[in-house]
């Protein structure tokens, strides 16, 4: 099809405006991170008066950024992997079997997406502490508690997406594997998982990003030693000077890995979403 001129122009202008909108904060973040402190305390400038790498050096000293980084990394990694494992089992069950309560399970799990976090924040905290007192399983203030919380947050979406994905994997593949002498587990491991790989990667990204960015629960469920980046970054504001250049440097530093990872893997997310929603 030929594209008329008006469409080409609209497209060029539309894309330029949207790209500008998307990029301006990124530009501000990057340039401000390279500014000396005096620059960010005066009128805004698009360029640094001179480039300064100091914010990137000092940001580690102003708050224990490295500790927060490790906490976030551990929590997000374990939570996303665990979430995929649990969701995959559930999704396989929903996709391959018809049983009583199947519908109810799906409805309940999906409706938890609607729960306002603030409603169960305090109860969850109390439950964690009581579990700790009665069973010795320390969930409050530990990374474990946060991991369990985050993996559950991503479960509804993960189950829904993976079930959609598994539905698109032909049953004949399972059957074929079973004929080859694999049990349900064998079929699951050897056939279904590889076929569902794009969906799995998509869920991993989603779960990782959710855990990396969550603020409300992290602010209550962590303590000094388990604080994550999302909460810890606010520490720059508690200083007796607001180090905007360091804040921007830290924001940039904690964003780069996740943005790069996302951009590299995003085609899986697209594929996973297509399978999940277009059915």
């Amino acid at each position: 099809m030929r594209e008329p001129m008006w469409f080409k122009w609209t497209r060029a202008i539309g894309l330029a405006v949207l790209a500008l909108f998307a990029l301006i904060p990124v530009w501000v973040m990057v340039t401000s991170a390279l500014k000396p402190l005096a620059d960010v305390q005066e009128r805004f400038t698009w360029w640094p008066s001179h480039l300064s790498a100091k914010p990137f050096v000092e940001m580690w000293k102003t708050i224990p950024l490295a500790d927060y980084f490790v906490n976030s990394l551990v929590v997000s990694t374990v939570a996303s992997i665990a979430s995929v494992v649990v969701a995959l089992l559930a999704a396989y069950s929903l996709s391959r079997y018809r049983f009583r309560g199947r519908q109810a399970f799906s409805v309940v799990v999906l409706s938890t997406q609607m729960f306002p976090g603030i409603l169960f924040l305090l109860p969850l905290y109390v439950i964690f502490v009581n579990l700790g007192n009665t069973t010795g399983l320390q969930l409050y203030g530990s990374r474990t508690g946060l991991i369990v919380t985050y993996m559950t947050f991503t479960l509804p979406f993960a189950i829904w997406m993976l079930a959609g994905y598994l539905d698109s994997v032909p049953r004949e593949l399972d059957e074929a594997a079973k004929v080859d002498g694999c049990g349900p587990l064998g079929a699951f491991m050897r056939v279904v998982i590889p076929a569902a790989m794009p969906g799995i990667v998509a869920v991993l990204i989603y779960a990782f990003m959710t855990a990396w960015g969550e603020v409300l629960f992290a602010s209550v469920l962590t303590d000094d030693s388990t604080r994550t980046l999302a909460v810890g970054l606010q520490g720059y504001a508690t200083q007796n000077n607001v180090y905007w250049n360091q804040i921007m440097a830290a924001a940039l530093t904690v964003s780069v890995p996740i943005v790069v990872g996302f951009l590299v893997l995003q085609r899986y997310l697209v594929a996973g979403m297509t399978a999940g929603s277009v059915k």
């Binding site: 089992l89 000094d224 508690t238 007796n240 000077n241 607001v242």
Partner: protein, 435 residues
């Protein structure tokens, strides 16, 4: 059995997750003092959280050396402290010893979360008479034993830039609000403003309005503890505060946005404003690079003549208290720690470093507390400071009034005229939300 294997796998994956991530949580054993580890939540008193750790670290080591009791220190940012105390109270799992803002004392006392310092407990930490009377007045309701003991004492003063005052031909800091207004207008020019305020900060707003209301003869709670937010005196106090921006135009409207609790002071240090109402700030001002010779401090001005019933109050009783969590398993060790932190030598060291004032009288023998600035603050604290209302609803009062003032300041700063009837309506609405 494949089914069981699969179930086992599922379970193992769960258990594995917990095992994998279980980190070494401290297991404080009971028994002799040798093995006791106390958890201590310190508030952020220094220039940064890290600075607090550096200041407190050696002192805690001294305590461990003296008693064998170990202390696990956590410095909690002010933004999180009250929330953390609340959640700890709800769950019953908290630190053994903790710092609280002294204005929260009555509210936290009402929760019953802390060990009351009755006479027998007081005796264990060296007796009530060691403490400054003024600071002890902000440790809970008057008819109950204190819920905490003072550790750092503070008061508000009017910091002024001597250089700017001299340039404007002013030789003395203002003592009345009329003088203040004249002076502030003189020192307001294209380069700097007369006064900077932390207008987006709930607590700074409520503290200032409280003092102004005292001067007007107002009160936010009557003798029976019933709220009286919208009295004419309180309206007048809020009006006076808003007028720094609205009518006198001696304060940069941008200050309505300042919410970090540091920005107004930073403006003063950098010469963007000639005055600021602040608690002990010499340490911060020095760190921000202000020339010590330019810094002057005086009590907040008073109305002249005093309105009917007006009190000569120039500050709230500010400061930090030390409390013991009721659920502590190491009561004796916790009290030993309180005794140590409020001992004369520790009071000298800590207050010197933080620029606050000791809460025990003996510590004032130290020449470090004889500087003019400390003398000024000591005088304010002993002669013209009033504690915030010691009622259970205090913390709600702070939040509700501070927020209402913040919103009104935002309106005034954006050029809207906030009239006295608007103020009255806002204060009334705040009072209705007090449950």
């Amino acid at each position: 059995m494949r089914v069981t294997r699969l179930a086992a796998l599922a379970l193992a994956s769960l258990v594995g997750v917990s095992a994998l991530s279980a980190c070494s949580s401290s297991n404080s054993g009971s028994g002799s003092d040798k093995n006791v580890t106390l958890t201590y939540w310190a508030s952020n008193q220094g220039t940064s959280l890290d600075n607090d750790k550096q200041v407190l670290g050696p002192e805690l080591a001294k305590f461990t050396q003296q008693t064998g009791i170990k202390v696990k220190l956590q410095v909690v940012p002010w933004a999180d402290l009250l929330n953390n105390i609340l959640t700890a109270t709800t769950s019953g799992k908290g630190p053994d010893v903790l710092n609280i803002g002294n204005t929260w004392s009555a509210s936290l006392q009402a929760t019953g979360a802390f060990v009351p310092f009755d006479d027998s407990v007081m005796a264990k930490i060296g007796g009530k008479s060691r403490f400054l009377g003024g600071s002890l007045s902000a440790t809970g309701a008057a008819d109950k034993p204190p819920t905490a003991v003072p550790i750092y004492s503070l008061a508000y003063g009017l910091y002024y830039n001597k250089k700017y005052f001299a340039e404007a031909g002013i030789s003395q800091p203002p003592t009345t609000w009329a003088e203040f207004e004249t002076d502030a207008k003189k020192v307001t020019n294209a380069q700097h403003w007369g006064l900077s305020i932390e207008g987006g900060s709930v607590s700074e707003n409520v503290h200032n309005v409280f003092t102004l209301s005292q001067q007007q003869g107002g009160a936010f709670f009557d003798a029976a503890g019933k709220p009286t937010f919208d009295t004419p005196q309180n309206v007048a106090a809020v009006r006076q505060y808003l007028d720094f921006i609205q009518q006198d135009k001696i304060t940069n409207p941008s200050n309505a946005e300042y919410a970090q609790g540091t920005e107004a002071l930073a403006d003063f240090a950098k010469g963007k404003s000639a005055m600021v109402l602040w608690q002990a700030a010499s340490g911060s001002l020095k760190q921000l690079g202000m020339n010590a010779a330019d810094i002057g401090v005086a009590p907040m001005p008073l109305p002249d003549p005093m309105p009917a019933g007006g009190k000569k109050v120039t500050s709230m009783v500010a400061g930090i208290n030390l409390a013991v969590f009721k659920n502590t398993k190491h009561m004796d060790a916790a009290l030993q720690f309180v005794k140590f932190m409020t001992s004369t030598p520790e009071q000298k060291v800590l207050n010197k470093t933080y620029g606050s004032m000791p809460s025990v009288t003996d510590a004032y023998a130290d020449p470090a507390f004889n500087t003019p600035a400390v003398q000024t603050f000591k005088k304010i604290l002993s002669a013209s400071a009033a504690p915030l209302p010691a009622v259970a609803a205090e913390s709600q009062f702070e939040t509700l009034i501070g927020t209402a003032v913040k919103n009104m300041l935002a309106d005034a700063a954006s050029g809207k005229n906030v009239s006295e009837s608007d103020i009255s309506a806002q204060l009334k609405a705040a009072q209705q939300q007090l449950s």
